[in-house]
Amino acid sequence: MKKNIFSKLFSRELPEGPVEAGQTLGMTPESVLERYFANRNAILSLLRIYSNLSLSDVAKELGISDTKLEEIEKSDERVPFQLVPKIAEVFNVDLKALLVLLGHAQSGDRDDKYREFSALPIAAQYSGPDLTKQEKVDLEELFKIILAEMKSREGENEI
């Protein structure tokens, strides 16, 4: 499970060797992971260690204070969504996976295709309750149909 998370984040397998920081404490990579996954944002300190960056380096990149970053890393509160793309950039990890890990997006479930991320990302203003899984698929299909129709009209006009 944790290997999958890392595969998604780094697009590669979890390095075989022990985590440097954990090793100095005599910990195995697994126990380091266990410890760091104790709260939602612990992944951030883990990514920082893996990237060999200091708290100050990362805080500076994110435009926040060291204290604020430390507070975020130790907290279980959701990281402000505004920071997530920048975090993905700093650690060079997959934004989609980070959104899931930090609790901003629903996690994909391989057994349920509708819970995977939309293939065609759309921001839509809609009325009424949240979209169901099927409605998300339908929305994507609708968008494709409208786009295709618009393009075919453009083609006709050009002729």
Partner: protein, 274 residues
Amino acid sequence: MNTFSEENKLRIRSLAQELRLKHDAMDWGISPVDLIEKEGLDYGEYDLSDKGIIEKITRSIKKIAKRIKAALSVPQKVVLIDTDLHNAKKPFGQAHELGHHTIPEHRQILYVCSESDLIYETRLEMEFEANVFASETLFPTPLMNSIYENFPLAMETILNLAQLAKASFHSAALRYVTDCDKKCCVLFLKVEEDDEGNRGLKLQSQKWSPAWGKKYKRKIIKDYQFFHAKHNFSLVAFSGSLHTVVKNTINVGEDIMFQAHTFFNGYTVFSLLF
């Protein structure tokens, strides 16, 4: 970063102002479609009754289609608006989608996932920011300041504002109250029937100025409060005073009297209390 903080609102407003400045669109009545196209996005209005579309959509797609009014695809660089959306509401919808494209973190997130892939709270925060952006695009702060300075607190000022911005009365009323330094509140009401079938007005939403919020720390008018047909609010809707501003004094049930300027546009009853 608190999404709903004044600091963040200012940040979003600056992004809208920078965009207007970049495209030399500093006056009232700018066209969001112009800005969309100048930003390199395609813009289209779709008609669901169009033969080319209706023939291809299934019943279940039709169901979702009815709920969608505007959409943006960041990867495809396109903004789509339902042609049936009321003309007055289109500019806000267009500017809202432009906001998702302009706010850097929205664009990055919406490049990899749909808004519907996000959790409710995150979506709500993004919608809030896109609304702040849209409001600033249509009603820029520097121009709003001159409205506050030169025009009285009155329903006519809001009507004038909607005309200047070529935007809906609803969005103008919300924007006016948001930064007004006087104590005022705008109510949005709909004609409905109560449980016994009596017609009246039901409160849909309300927005008050910071000064109003400071004085009355709780809601004076309850959510979904119903005003029977003989109430001053209701009289406007039921007395044939369509598109006329009715001015009177009202008591909303807390023994506090307010000046009320009420206006019915045929869909919604707007009341400005102060």
